[in-house]
């Protein structure tokens, strides 16, 4: 399946235009780059942040604990002020009943002392004889049964002057508002005898706890207090609905909960010398942990990378894909059949070289095509010429007149002979069909031709034939001999004014068939020999015939001319076998 998909993708990708490929590639690179960048940053940051959070948390918790303790120390100092107050001591030592005056004075003193301290909601001073005085800011219920139970007082006696902290006085007090109370309880001893005289209870509001973390809270960071029995003390926040949010019996404890990206750090700290367990919940905030300088660095890195990629992309587009696209478009014009050269201003690099090579190739192709056309034209011209040669009206009409004369003056035998020869000649001469005929037929044409010419020109020549029977069946292009013989007669024999010989020789040597036409006419000098194959030459029949043979066999060396002025001319055709 995956292999299949990969193959499909590969096929699709390779079918895209180069430009598209580059685009996709860049898109992929940019995406990959960004993802990688984000992931690296993310994990790095997270780890950093965790360490920082965890370290920081403990410090914060300890400092909150210290705040609370210092607050309690203040309360302790205040309690000592109360205990050493003259009026209060007087009240504790008074024996008479009613002691309204003493109690009144003590109450006044308590007001005076506590007035300058925060958090205090009520102060009770219980004498051991169950007499007591108190002051209070709100209404506080007192459950006296609790106070007298041995269980409740034991620890206080054991502390012997040290303070004990209990929530709601260990069940002895309850605020009417329902807010929990933090009770500060200690034994009051007689300064002189050091015997217990009373129990002092200072009920403090939960604002004492709130104040301890007042400046440390934020929407991402909340604190909670638990008592020694792991009961939550309501300080204003609802307990979050987190299962793990439960204190354990350890001085300090920290856990991380929540899914990726929504982590929360839960921490618990048992504040020493108090019954309180401080709990904290902190939501992780990544932004907070990325320092602003590094944000700038990151942004500029990303920007620089994107800029570089875009720059490379533009470079590739401008210098590679666009020129190639234009080149391809220009080359595409050749599809319409015009092999037109590409004339684009392309840079002088590999693409420019490609264009030049392409152009050079086109030039070559055009040259080849022209050569082919030229060759085709020449072949056609040669064939046309051969056709015109075939008709030979001049020869026919003159021969007819000759025969007409024979009919009028000579024997009918001669006329019959002449007409038969003429008929044979034209039958072979004009025969349609294959362009190749056996050499025997070709020789026949020449024989008939010369016989007719003898009638016309009064035996001014003799014709001789030296024929090799073995080669007579070899096929040769039609009408290659007659034009040569005609040339011999008109350009060699007749200008000489003497009786001459025209001799046809055929022979085979190695892989060549040689056919010679010899005449001992006027011959040619070198100068004339040189012009024999030129266009403006009068003996057109010769040139046309040679060219026809050359095209037919696709080679140049198909003939040879030997001549001596005033003596002879011999044209030899070389036919490859």
């Amino acid at each position: 399946m995956g292999k299949h998909l990969f193959r499909d993708f590969k096929r699709w990708f390779s079918s895209q235009m180069l430009k598209q490929k580059v685009r996709y590639l860049f898109l992929a690179i940019i995406t990959m780059y960004l993802v990688l960048f984000v992931l690296i940053n993310f994990f790095y940051l997270k780890e950093n942040m965790m360490n920082y959070t965890l370290n920081n948390n403990q410090k914060t918790m300890i400092s909150i604990g210290n705040n609370l303790k210092s607050e309690l120390n203040t309360i302790n100092s205040m309690s000592q002020l109360l205990m050493t107050n003259r009026d209060i001591i007087a009240y504790l030592k008074s024996e008479n009943s009613p002691r309204s005056l003493a109690s009144h004075r003590a109450t006044t003193a308590m007001y005076d002392i506590t007035n300058s301290f925060d958090h205090i909601t009520s102060v009770y001073l219980f004498r051991l004889d169950r007499e007591y005085v108190h002051i209070a800011k709100g209404i506080t219920w007192v459950y006296r049964n609790h106070l007298e139970s041995e269980e409740w007082t034991r620890e206080i006696y054991e502390k012997n002057g040290g303070y004990v902290i209990r929530i709601d006085g260990g069940g002895a007090f309850r605020s009417k508002s329902g807010e929990p109370l933090v009770s500060f309880i200690r034994l009051v001893n007689d300064l002189d005898t050091q015997k217990p005289m009373a129990i002092l209870v200072i009920n403090l509001s939960v604002s004492l706890l709130k104040d301890s973390y007042k400046n440390m809270e934020s929407p991402d960071k909340l604190f909670y207090y638990f008592d020694e029995n792991f009961q939550h003390i309501n300080t204003g926040h609802e307990l979050p609905n987190i299962e793990q949010f439960k204190p354990v019996d350890a001085p300090y404890h920290q856990v991380t909960v929540g899914a990726f990206g929504k982590e929360q750090v839960l921490s618990f700290y048992r504040i020493p010398d108090t019954p309180f367990i401080l709990a904290g919940i902190e939501r992780m905030s990544y932004i907070r942990f990325i320092p602003s300088e590094s944000i700038w660095i990151i942004i500029s890195l990303v920007a620089l990378t994107l800029f570089s990629l875009i720059l490379i992309g533009i470079f590739i587009t401008v210098y590679i894909t666009n020129p190639i696209e234009r080149l391809v478009q220009s080359m595409d014009k050749s599809k319409t059949g015009w092999l037109k050269r590409v004339s684009l201003p392309l840079p002088d690099d590999e693409i420019g070289h490609l264009k030049n090579s392409y152009n050079n190739m086109l030039v070559e192709i055009n040259k080849l095509i022209n050569e082919l056309l030229e060759k085709e034209k020449k072949t056609q011209q040669a064939e046309l010429n051969a056709l015109q040669e075939q008709i030979k009206p001049h020869f026919l009409y003159n021969t007819l007149d000759t025969i007409a004369y024979l009919a009028l003056q000579e024997s009918s035998e001669k006329v019959y002979d002449a007409i038969e020869t003429l008929g044979n000649f034209y039958r072979r001469f004009l025969s349609r069909g294959s362009s190749e005929i056996p050499l025997r037929e070709e020789i026949h044409i020449v024989k008939d031709y010369l016989k007719l010419q003898k009638l016309r020109y009064d035996d001014i020549f003799d014709d001789e034939y030296l024929l090799d029977e073995d080669v007579m069946s070899i096929k040769v292009p039609k009408l290659i001999l007659q034009p040569l013989v005609e040339n011999s007669l008109y350009h060699g024999v007749r200008p000489k004014g003497e009786r001459c010989v025209i001799r046809i020789t055929t022979k085979k040597k190695e892989n060549w068939l040689y056919i010679s036409v010899y005449d001992n006419g006027i011959g040619m000098n070198q100068e004339k020999l040189n012009t024999i194959m030129l266009d403006n030459n009068r003996s057109f029949g010769f040139k046309g015939t040679i060219e026809r043979i050359q095209y037919y066999y696709g080679r140049e060396d198909v003939y040879e001319v030997v001549s001596e002025e005033g003596l002879y001319t011999e044209v030899t055709l070389k036919i490859p076998l």
């Binding site: 009206p393 001049h394 003159n398 007819l400 007149d401 000759t402 004369y405 004014g497």
Partner: protein, 250 residues
């Protein structure tokens, strides 16, 4: 009675023409034949024809060249060009130089008859005027003429008429005067010059066709005829004898 001359390189065709023309029973007489333009130039002054038939294709001097010369020298001469079909366009362009008609080969008797009738009509219209400008002359002019001939006999196109025109004589007058003064016809004198030179060449063993060219009769066939008539021997015999003589001598 009008005089006709036939010029064609094929004897058979000349004969055919002769028979055909005679059969027409027109008021015509065939006075001479020539087998080439060269022969015609040399003999036309003897025959003084009114009409010539000229084949367009002949070696050494073709029908067109001959016609151009003839029209220049014999303004009254009627020239009928004979041509095979593949020369037809060429022949037609000759009308411009002043030939009277052209006939296509193979020869058609009707066409020949019609053409001849037309030409005879033209001849009848053009009166024969034979002004004989008698020019006072002296020995001097004859000497000049001889000198001219001896200088120019190798030119193939000179004949009695062209010499007369050169010296501004009437042709027949010149002919008569020359014969009277020298005891020899002018054409014969020209031939004598050529043949004497030819004999010299023959003795050197020069090939006949070359000699013929050198002495102003580039048609070797006609040359050979003239040579035999003049010397009574074939050129080849002359040449052979002479070379054997030379061989004996050496």
């Amino acid at each position: 009675m009008y005089k006709v001359m036939l010029i064609d390189d094929e004897r058979a065709i000349r004969n055919l023409l002769r028979i055909t023309i005679q059969n027409q029973e027109l008021d015509l007489e065939i006075v001479g034949e020539a087998s080439s333009g060269i022969e015609a130039i040399n003999t036309i002054d003897n025959y003084k024809p009114d009409i010539v038939f000229v084949d367009i294709r002949m070696p050494f001097m073709d029908g067109i060249e001959f016609s151009k010369l003839a029209i220049q020298r014999y303004p009254k001469l009627k020239i009928i060009i004979l041509t095979a079909y593949d020369d037809f366009e060429y022949a037609r362009s000759c009308i411009g130089i002043g030939v009277s008609a052209y006939l296509l080969k193979p020869i058609s008797r009707t066409e020949i008859r019609e053409t001849l009738l037309k030409v005879i009509d033209q001849l009848k219209v053009e009166k024969r005027e034979e002004d004989e400008d008698i020019i006072e002359d002296d020995q001097c002019s004859i000497a000049k003429i001889k000198e001219y001939i001896m200088k120019n006999y190798m030119e193939p196109d000179i004949n009695l008429t062209s010499i007369a025109q050169h010296f501004c004589f009437n042709t027949s007058y010149l002919s008569r005067m020359f014969k009277q003064k020298t005891g020899m016809g002018l054409s014969d004198f020209l031939m004598k010059c050529r043949m004497e030179r030819a004999i010299a060449y023959a003795k050197k063993g020069t090939r006949m066709y070359l000699t013929a060219r050198e002495v102003g009769i580039p048609d070797p066939n006609y040359f050979s005829k003239c040579f035999k008539k003049y010397t009574g021997k074939l050129y080849s015999e002359y040449a052979k004898n002479d070379t054997s003589n030379m061989a004996n001598e050496s």
